[in-house]
C-alpha cells in the first residue's frame, strides 16, 4: 500500500513540476509585483497599493467598458449556445449530432484567423460592403460596421460560441429521457418539464460556458486592437502596453489581478442568480 502511494506521488511529479514551475510560481511572483513600483525604469521591491489606486482612478472607464462588453458577450453567447445545444439534443432528431459536429468544426478556425476574417468582412472596402454595393442595397460603403463595440461583440461571440456549446451540450447529453417521459406522463407541460428537469441539469454547463466566455472576453486585447477602434480600448489593451513600450510591470500586474478578481465576482454572481432560477422546486 505504501509502495502504491509513493508510486502515485512519483506519477504526479512531472505534472506538478509544470504546474508549480510555470504556473503557480510565475503567477505568485506576478501578484507580488503588483505591490512593487518602478523607479527610473527599474523594478523595485515595495509594499504599496499605489498601483491599485491608479487602476481605479486612472483606468475605471476602460475597466467599466470592458466589463460591459464582456457581460454582453457572455450573456448572449451563453443564451445562443444553450439554444443551439438544446436544439441539437432535443429538437433536431437524428440530425442533432451532425449539426453539432458542423458547429464544433469551427473550433479549428483559429483565434487570429477569426479576428482577421471579421476585419475583412466588416471593413469599409470589405466583403459585406462590396456585397451590399454589388446588390445595389447601398451605393456608398458603410464605414460604421468596423471599429466599434458591436464589431468587438460579434467577433468575440463568433470565437467563443463553439467553446460555450461544448460544456452546455455535455450537461444536456446527461439528461435521461426517463424523467422527461415521467414528467409528461404525470401531466407536466413542456414548460414545466423544461424548468424542472432540463434547466437544473443544464446549470453546471451554463455556468462553465458563461465563465469561459466572460474570462476570455474580459482578458482579450487583440480583438479590440484590430476591430475595436481607437475610442473603445478594453483594459487588455492597457495591460499589454505596460509590457511593450511603457514597461510598467507593477501597474500591468495590478490591472490583471483587478480584472481577474472582478471577473470572478461576476461569474459567482451569475452562478448564484441562475442557481436560484434553475433549482428544483
Amino acid at each position: 500500500m505504501r509502495d502504491a502511494r509513493s508510486l502515485a506521488n512519483l506519477m504526479l511529479l512531472p505534472s506538478g513540476l509544470i504546474l508549480v514551475a510555470f504556473f503557480l510560481l510565475p503567477v505568485s511572483y506576478f501578484f507580488v509585483v503588483s505591490f512593487w513600483r518602478v523607479r527610473s525604469y527599474k523594478l523595485q521591491a515595495d509594499a504599496t497599493l499605489d498601483q491599485y489606486v491608479e487602476v481605479f482612478t486612472g483606468y475605471w472607464v476602460p475597466l467599466l467598458y470592458t466589463f460591459a462588453v464582456a457581460l454582453a458577450i457572455a450573456l448572449a453567447v451563453t443564451l445562443i449556445a444553450f439554444g443551439f445545444a438544446f436544439y441539437c439534443r432535443f429538437r433536431a432528431g437524428r440530425y442533432g449530432m451532425p449539426l453539432l459536429f458542423l458547429a464544433l468544426l469551427t473550433l479549428f478556425g483559429g483565434y487570429l484567423t477569426k479576428i482577421y476574417t471579421w476585419k475583412t468582412i466588416l471593413g469599409a472596402e470589405g466583403i459585406l460592403n462590396s456585397a451590399l454595393m454589388l446588390t445595389g442595397l447601398t451605393d456608398a460603403p458603410i464605414t460604421a460596421f468596423l471599429f466599434n463595440p458591436v464589431a468587438v461583440v460579434i467577433t468575440l461571440a463568433h470565437y467563443t460560441l463553439p467553446i460555450a456549446i461544448l460544456p452546455i451540450f455535455g450537461s444536456l447529453r446527461g439528461i435521461d429521457e426517463v424523467p422527461l417521459d415521467a414528467a409528461r406522463d404525470l401531466g407536466a407541460g413542456p414548460c414545466r418539464s423544461f424548468r424542472d428537469v432540463v434547466l437544473p441539469q443544464a446549470w453546471p454547463g451554463l455556468v462553465t460556458a458563461f465563465a469561459l466566455t466572460f474570462l476570455f472576453a474580459a482578458g482579450d486585447y487583440v480583438t479590440p486592437m484590430l476591430v475595436g477602434g481607437p475610442n473603445t480600448s478594453m483594459i487588455g489593451v492597457f495591460i499589454q502596453s505596460q509590457f511593450g513600450h511603457r514597461v510598467d510591470a507593477p501597474l500591468g500586474s495590478a490591472m490583471s489581478f483587478t480584472v481577474i478578481a472582478l471577473s470572478l465576482a461576476v461569474i459567482l454572481g451569475f452562478a448564484g442568480t441562475t442557481r436560484y432560477f434553475t433549482r428544483v422546486r
Binding site: 512531472p14 510555470f22 503567477v27 458542423l102 490583471s256 480584472v259
Partner: protein
Amino acid sequence: MRRGGILWHGFAGLVLLFMLTPLFILVLFCFSRNALLSFPIAGFTLDWFRKLFEHPQFWPSLRNSLIITVTVGVVSTVAGTMAALATARLRRAWSISLTLLVTLPVMLPPLMLGVALLSYFASIGMRLGLPTVIMSHLVFTQPFVVAIVAARMASFDHAAVESARDLGASRLRAFFNVTLPIIRPSVIGAALIAMALSLDDFVVTLFTIGGGSTLPIFMWGMLRKGVDPTINVIAVLLMLLSIGISLVGLRATRYRG
C-alpha cells in the same frame, strides 16, 4: 420531447450560418484574384500560395510552429496522463481537488498568463526562445489532457489490471499491455487537443518567444500591415494543419481497433 417547429429550425440555421460563413469566405478569398478582399471576384488564382511560400519568414515560422506543437503534444500528454492515472487511484475528495488544481490555468486569460510568464522569466534571468514558449504552452495544454484522461479513468475497470498483476506482470508491463490499450483513444484525443491548442496559440507565444516567430506570430506581423490575401492562405494552412492532426489521430485510434 416533440420535434422542433419552424422557429427552432430557423434559429439553428442562423447560428450555423453565423459560425460557418466567415470561414467559408476566408477559404474563398485564398483563391481570388482580387488584391482587396471584396466582391465581385475577378477570377481565381493560386498566386497567393506562391507568394506565401516565397516569403523569407514563412518556412522558419512553420518549422518553429511544428517543433513547439510536437514537443508540447508529447510532454503534456505524458505528464497529464501520468497525473490522471495517479489521481484515479486516490480517494475521491483528493482526486477532485488535485484535478481542480491542475486545471486552474485554464481559468486565467491568455494575456495574463503571458505577461506573468514574461515577468517571471525576466526575473529568473531566463532567455526567451522556443524553450520558454514550450514551457508556457505546457501550462494551458496539460489541463485538457488531465481532464480527458481522468474522465476516461472514471469508468475504468481496474479488475483487468489487477488480474494482470496477480498473474505476475510488473506494474510497467501491466500498464503497457492492459491499461494503455484500453485508454488509448482518450490519450490520443487528449494529445491532439493539446497540439491543436499549442499550434493556434498567439497571445502567450507573443510574450514568451522573444525575437522568434511561429505561424500565428508571422500572421500577426502581416495583418498589422493591413488586409492581404496571403494572410488568408496562412490561416487556411493553420486550419488544415489542425484538422490534419485530428484526422491522423482518428486513424491512429481506429488502427489499433
